[in-house]
């Protein structure tokens, strides 16, 4: 016989507490908008800044602060590519795979990244240091091929540049 399913088992809410500073930061965002749902993406980013990613348990917690349903938050959290729903490494490498980079050495750069890090897209190095992901045109096409590490944009980057570039992110 089927057990009744509570929403908390669908989207677990146990064991996650919003950091008070994060809750304050989220509430601070509300003043920019007519309705609280608008702060949803900001809220997800605030949580991600602290934890590196957005665990499932954070969803109802954010929903509660915003006064909206968890489904609305989950829908948003799964749509946007820069909201991470799995743990990532300490640093995220976003390599641009769009056209101008493709025309100026993306394939070699991507291969060198895979060799250097030992992981492919979506993978995290075993020392938990880097996660590798593709990204749309970084708007740095005059410096193609380009990539971002955390908040820093680099380009043009050659495979030879990689070891020393990555060194800057312990």
């Amino acid at each position: 016989m089927a057990e009744p399913v509570s929403t908390s088992t669908l989207i677990g809410s146990d064991g996650f507490e919003l950091h008070p500073a994060d809750e304050t930061a989220i509430l601070e965002q509300l003043k920019h908008y007519e309705q609280p749902q608008a702060a949803c993406i900001d809220a997800l980013k605030i949580v991600q800044r602290r934890h590196g990613w957005v665990p499932d348990d954070a969803i109802p917690a954010i929903a509660r602060v915003l006064g909206i349903g968890p489904g609305a938050v989950e829908g948003v959290a799964t749509f946007y590519s820069l909201i991470f729903r799995q743990p990532v490494g300490r640093h995220v490498v976003l390599v641009c795979d769009s056209s101008s980079c493709f025309l100026t050495g993306f394939d070699e750069l991507k291969q060198a990244l895979v060799n250097e890090l030992g992981v492919d897209y979506g993978g995290t190095t075993s020392d938990n240091r880097f996660t590798l992901l593709p990204v749309c045109c970084l708007g740095a096409c005059d410096g193609a091929p380009a990539l971002m590490i955390d908040n820093d944009t680099y380009g043009p980057v050659t495979p030879d540049d990689l070891p020393r570039l990555l060194e800057g992110y312990p």
Binding site: H32, F102, L103, L133, G139, D142, T153, Y154, L165
Partner: protein, 460 residues
């Protein structure tokens, strides 16, 4: 040495830059960039005011006639620089205002994610006050009480510069209540995104701003009738808004004259080139400058390669050929060649590049970035990628090319909710037309592994 940054981290750090020195730029001829500094540092408020900053706001608010701002913009015919080329003045004249209509929003589209496009970044990082000035004028004309700069999340430096400039402007009374003693109130917030190209589509952008999934909305109603939170909302590109102050200050005739007799579109344009050229970069040039002139500024093709084809304004524009290099790059002329001016930043393709491989790369982008609402886009684009992968590996089947024709046609204008799918179709359709033989070379072998290549999403 824990504070030290490895030198490599410095030397490859990307910085947005204009490849025209100050000596080549003047207020009369370079309304978008004349104030930019050769050292690439941002022009902050003091310097901006010394360089005639906010004079257009002073003028317009003194005159006290918002409709005159719209009339000026209509006459100048400033065409949208986000890619579609719609007249900003005309758009503004259609915004609902007056009567019981609540004041609405002025939204700057700073989502810049069109592959091959890197112009709005320069304007935001080095001259934030010009954008703010343009937004104040836009808000005044459209009776907007609040403005958002919808900025892609990856533009960390733009966010830093814009936020500081907004604070400066507010402190000096250019934002906030009773701007410059005029009785007009307006303020701006920077809203940063979290990825996804589709956020740049104006109605998807509004959904995203409201904290929802970025699916486009059906039109009508247009944003000017019912946009963010149901209020009249005007969405304009960064570069479009940066054109407004000079139009208001110097007039429509002057603006029209900037492009001389090159084209009937007035003004200047931030043109650029990327791909294998000697000096990829950005320049402010008269509207209607030719591809040949721009390519020459870029020093021509790198290592004496041959130019095979080029995209005039991003991934969602159609391929042009070397024979098109002498056409004036304006909206109508490029449109007549089966392409679009788009963002006006050229992407060059060298002779040795396989058009099949390049199309595969482009369609991977469009397939990944589909919002999933319409079938031809959501299902047709991954199918297109699979066919291109097969052709690229020489494993295409008879009929594959005709199927590509059909998939492209199914994504044509008017068949889907937004212009993402037509954007995916245009480069494909033009590549199939101009370079069909390259696709045909991929046909003839049995189907095999190639079909199993994944589309590189790699989301976590």
């Amino acid at each position: 040495m824990s504070q030290s940054i490895p030198s490599q981290r410095q030397s490859t750090q990307y910085r947005s830059r204009l490849l025209q020195p100050e000596t080549e730029r003047s207020a009369d001829t370079h309304p978008l960039t004349w104030r930019l500094r050769d050292d690439g540092e941002a022009v902050w408020l003091d310097e901006y005011l010394r360089k005639d900053g906010y004079q257009s706001v002073r003028k317009a608010l003194n005159e006290g006639d918002p409709q005159a701002v719209i009339a000026n913009m209509k006459e100048a015919n400033v065409r949208g620089r986000g890619g579609a080329g719609f007249s900003a003045g005309l758009k503004w004249s259609l915004t609902l205002q007056g009567g019981d209509m609540p004041r609405g929003y002025l939204i700057c589209n700073a989502d810049e994610m069109e592959p091959g496009t890197f112009k709005d970044r320069l304007l935001m990082e080095q001259q934030p006050h010009l954008l703010i000035e343009g937004m104040i004028l836009g808000a005044y004309a459209n009776n907007s009480f609040y403005g958002y700069i919808f900025l892609r999340g990856e533009y960390v430096e733009s966010a830093r510069v814009l936020n500081r400039a907004i604070d400066e402007a507010r402190e000096a009374g250019w934002l906030g209540p009773d701007i410059n003693g005029s009785g007009f109130d307006f303020d701006i917030a920077v809203h940063t995104g979290a990825g996804r190209y589709i956020c740049g589509e104006e109605t998807a952008l509004i959904n995203s701003l409201e904290g929802k999934r970025a699916n486009p909305r059906a039109k009508p109603p247009f944003p000017g009738q019912s946009g963010a939170w149901g209020k009249p909302s005007v969405v304009n590109n960064v570069e479009t808004l940066c054109n407004v102050p000079a139009v208001i200050l110097n007039g429509a005739d002057w603006y029209q004259g900037l492009s001389g007799d090159r084209t009937k579109d007035g003004g200047t344009k931030l043109y650029g080139v990327s791909g294998p050229v000697e000096k990829p970069g950005l320049w402010e040039l008269p509207m209607g400058t030719t591809g040949a002139e721009i390519l020459e500024r870029a020093g021509g093709m790198r290592d004496n390669r041959q130019l095979k084809a080029w995209l005039p304004g991003g991934a969602s524009t159609g391929f042009l050929l070397p024979e098109h290099l002498d056409l004036p790059l304006d909206f109508d002329t490029v449109g007549k060649e089966g392409s679009r001016l788009g963002t006006g930043l050229l992407t060059v393709v060298p002779q040795e590049m396989s058009m099949v491989a390049l199309m595969r790369n482009l369609e991977e982008f469009f397939a990944r970035e589909s919002c999933g609402w319409c079938t031809p886009c959501r299902d047709g684009l991954p199918w297109t990628v699979k066919l291109l992968q097969a052709l690229e590996h020489g494993q295409g089947e008879e009929g594959d090319i005709e199927l590509l024709d059909k998939l492209a046609a199914d994504c044509g204008p008017g068949l889907t909710f937004c212009a993402h799918a037509p954007g995916a179709a245009m480069p494909l359709e033009t590549a199939l037309r101009h370079f069909r033989h390259e696709f045909e070379q991929g046909v003839g072998k049995p189907r095999g592994e190639a079909h199993e290549d994944p589309i590189p999403v790699g989301q976590v």
